[in-house]
């Protein structure tokens, strides 16, 4: 597991020791070499090489005007609309879909010279925690091919962990960046809700969907959010950039709260030990770590699996076999076109979530399930607010255990859902969180530590993460 960070790669380009074309060719050849991990759905080779040549040309003309990501190849999860390859969301439903425009975040990365070289694998429509729900086959964990990479951004995490590209884009609705980062041993950053535009990202659950990054360092995550953030007229939920997004200068001693609810007897001892080590590291850095209890945090998963399917059932209504996407060829009537196209285009997990969503929104159930969940969500947010009165940041594991075996949870959807138990809280409250490599278990599988901050503390959160990378 090696590879350069973004800043090292840009440095070599500006020194004249590399070209954008060489960077792209090397990335594509590494991705091909690691093809057996199935981290990709497609490559954008032709467009990537064209863009690389353009960047090399303009660098020769005006070397002083290089973008901050000049010639840096990256991979985008295949639920980002982009040119040069289809955008499938890993679903049969969109197998041949050609994006007519690009996601705002891709446009902003390209404006600084980054080059999208491939589209990565995910659970279809990002519905999953293991990347096993992809209609294009599962991605394998770079540390152990018999295990899952986590999901739903499993392809993006694997591509970064394998050293193929310095960073990848993912999306995080309930942990889909943080969990695969933890299982694959890379940095996974989920920003404050609304900090990055979702325009051009295939919608899953609009009240928690965020764009996130997978990278080799927290410094790279900070650079990427700096490039991509800011209001987008095409996404009305976007926020103004906070002035301290690019945090400068050292951090005074911070109060960090260790979440008690995440350190119970059900958590793998190796995971607990890794989190305790991380807390000791924070203490050596001069920060104060104390236990904190968020009583409603264990309820977050139940809230999540009501609210999110409800929003999924609404967002996926657009796939009707008429406007775009898969259309059943032999449907005899309009109703049959809807029913058969959706039956054949969606996989079992997509259908399960649509049906749960329809159930909790049904007349007679909406108050008992959906409204109740949204009210417990308020209670959860209040618990976080109370904790952030005493603590600058919270810490805990990303998941109760390390990467599980392929097929281990596919027969039991509820067991699969429980994988997200430690990540959904920050999602339901719109909080920024980062998954940092924190050692490995006796089998050599990576463990992630999760830091969670109040809304818009992203700059400081990533600064703390960077400081931690410099300490043993």
């Amino acid at each position: 597991m090696s590879g350069e960070t973004i800043s090292q790669m840009v440095g070599r380009l500006l020194d004249g020791r590399a070209t954008a074309r060489a960077n792209v060719e090397a990335a594509l050849s590494r991705l091909t070499e690691h093809g057996s991990y199935n981290s990709l759905i497609s490559t954008c080779e032709q467009r990537a090489l064209q863009r690389a040549d353009q960047i090399d040309q303009s660098l020769r003309k005006e070397p002083g005007r290089a973008g901050r990501l000049a010639g840096v190849p990256f991979v985008a999860k295949d639920n980002f609309l982009s040119f040069g390859a289809p955008t499938t969301a890993a679903s049969k439903m969109l197998r041949n879909f050609q994006a007519p425009y690009q996601a705002t975040v891709i446009e902003r990365l390209e404006a600084e010279g980054a080059i999208c070289v491939a589209k990565s694998n995910l659970d279809a429509f990002a519905h999953g925690s293991s990347t096993e729900n992809s209609d294009f086959g599962p991605t394998l964990n770079p540390h152990d091919k018999s295990r899952v990479p986590g999901g739903s951004s499993g392809g993006s995490a694997a591509a970064v962990a394998l050293g193929s590209v310095p960073f990848a884009l993912g999306t995080d609705t309930g942990g889909s960046v943080r969990l695969p980062a933890s299982f694959c041993g890379v940095v996974g950053y989920k920003p404050t809700y609304g900090l990055l535009s979702r325009f051009g990202v295939v919608a899953m659950a609009s009240s928690t969907d965020v764009v996130g990054t997978l990278s080799r360092s927290a410094g790279d995550a900070a650079l990427l959010v700096d490039v991509m953030s800011g209001r987008d007229p095409h996404d009305a939920t976007t926020l103004d950039r906070p002035s301290d997004l690019r945090y400068k200068g050292g951090l005074r001693p911070l109060n960090v709260g260790l979440i008690e609810e995440f350190m119970g007897p059900e958590v793998d001892p190796a995971v607990k030990a890794a989190i305790e080590n991380t807390c000791q590291k924070l203490a050596r850095m001069g920060h104060r770590v104390n236990k904190v209890s968020l009583a409603s945090l264990p309820l977050a998963l139940a809230v999540y699996y009501i609210v999110v399917p409800a929003e999924i059932s609404s967002n996926l209504a657009r796939y009707d076999g008429i406007r775009y996407g898969y259309s059943a060829p032999r449907a005899a009537s309009l109703e049959a076109t809807y029913g058969l196209s959706r039956d054949q285009g969606f996989n079992a997990e997509n259908k399960r979530r649509i049906l749960i969503g329809t159930y909790v929104l049904s007349s007679g159930y909406i108050e008992a399930y959906y409204q109740k969940a949204q009210t417990v969500r308020t209670k959860l947010i209040n618990d976080f607010k109370a904790a952030f009165k005493r603590f600058d940041f919270l810490i805990g594991p990303v998941a109760p255990a390390t990467a599980f075996k392929l097929g281990q949870n596919t027969k039991d959807p509820l067991k699969m859902y429980l994988t997200d138990v430690m990540t959904v809280g920050a999602s339901m409250a719109g909080l920024p969180a980062v998954s940092l490599p924190a050692g490995s278990d006796p089998a050599g599988l990576p463990i992630g530590a999760q830091l969670i901050g109040p809304q818009l503390s992203d700059g400081k959160l990533l600064q703390l993460a960077q400081d931690m990378e410099g300490v043993n």
Binding site: L299, Y305, I306, D320, S327, R342, K351, Y359, Q374, N382
Partner: protein
């Protein structure tokens, strides 16, 4: 604990514009019963005096200028690439929906 039956699944499938086979309905009924059973723990949570949260950043009435944007170049790419039956006159061929 709520039990979701295969008949419930057929009803939900109809509401969701999904076709579900009989075997599938049986599997889904089992899955949904377990999931609904799990999320039902929220019924016991005291939420007296609390309002529901539908969005987390408190933005209200976000507006942008009411200006015409020309998407004609996009429309071209969209139609060519994504419409299987695009006729030379620019119309889109679709299946018959009326009897």
């Amino acid at each position: 604990m709520s039990k979701v039956t295969p008949e419930d699944i057929q009803k939900l499938a109809q509401l969701s514009a999904l076709s579900v086979s009989r075997t599938e309905a049986e599997h889904l009924a089992r899955d949904l019963s377990a999931i609904v059973g799990y999320v039902e723990q929220l019924a016991a949570v005291d939420t007296a005096g609390l309002e529901p949260t539908y969005q987390v950043t408190g933005l209200q009435n976000v507006e942008r200028p009411d200006e015409v944007t020309d998407y004609s170049d996009l429309r071209h790419g969209l139609l060519d690439a994504n419409v299987p039956n695009l006729r030379p006159d620019g119309h889109i061929g679709v299946g018959r929906v009326l009897k």
